[in-house]
Symmetry: C2
DNA sequence: CCGTATCCCTCCGGATACTG
DNA sequence: CAGTATCCGGAGGGATACGG
């Protein structure tokens, strides 16, 4: 982490910055955005290809997620007006750049998921101690 | 991003891994976790210190967030049974390690927030074109 | 001081059906 | 194929009041 940005106590009083950054974090945290970004990292995909790959996502949420990502300038939506219509989604430069920190986070999560899950198990066990000495 | 983990197409079929990783991403994405982790990066804080620093968080959400982080093994909760009671929260090793990728993401967000916001403005303008030629 | 409990309301997200 | 529209349940999250 760098000291010169939002992590320094000196500018934490600038709450506006935290709020704005939070809007980006919220997008990362929502249920499908990361999945979509990951799938598109290999190249552009059509709507139903995306839907098939992710598997358990509804059309509603997929289109909503894609619209959100498009709105944020992270993916492009290319319509080919043929019959049947064809729509391709791809990452923008910004989207590819986002892939770097998101990938780092994903790698951390992947590396530490066992630690987190065992911590959860321990915590839950310690707090359901209706049965103990 | 590394090729060897969850980002490789070869193991995307292992949906269980994605699901598990998603639980961690959800914690990052929730409204207060990142703020708390950031504040605790400088050292331990008491409940109301934390609450005051963040400012607009309710007790309910702060305690819920802290319990979640504690459950995941990211923060510790130290009770000093005095009168009045004193409770200190601090990052665990795992929490400090998480700070690295989270900081990277925060830095990305901070660096690109302008691009994202202008993309949003452009998108919104293009889609509220009830008034045009 | 440090929470928990309750109420209440909004938004997320799934299922289904329909349109271009 | 690529969505939109509608309905609906449930989780998220704020305000307030109360307990240890």
């Amino acid at each position: 982490m760098q000291e010169g940005t939002m992590t320094k106590p000196g500018n934490l009083h600038e709450t506006g910055g935290c709020q704005r950054v939070n809007t980006v974090l919220s997008r990362i945290g929502d249920k499908w955005s990361v999945q979509v970004i990951m799938r598109l990292s290999a190249g552009s995909l059509r709507f139903n290809e995306l839907k098939r790959e992710i598997g358990n996502v509804s059309q509603k949420m997929l289109s909503a997620t894609l619209r959100g990502l498009e709105r944020d300038g992270l993916v492009t939506r290319s319509v080919t007006p043929s019959v049947p219509p064809r729509v391709d989604y791809a990452l923008t430069d910004l989207g590819h750049q986002l892939l770097v920190p998101v990938g780092a986070l994903g790698d951390w999560a992947f590396a530490n998921i066992d630690a987190v899950e065992s911590a959860r198990a321990a915590f839950d066990a310690a707090h359901s101690d209706a049965a103990r000495a």
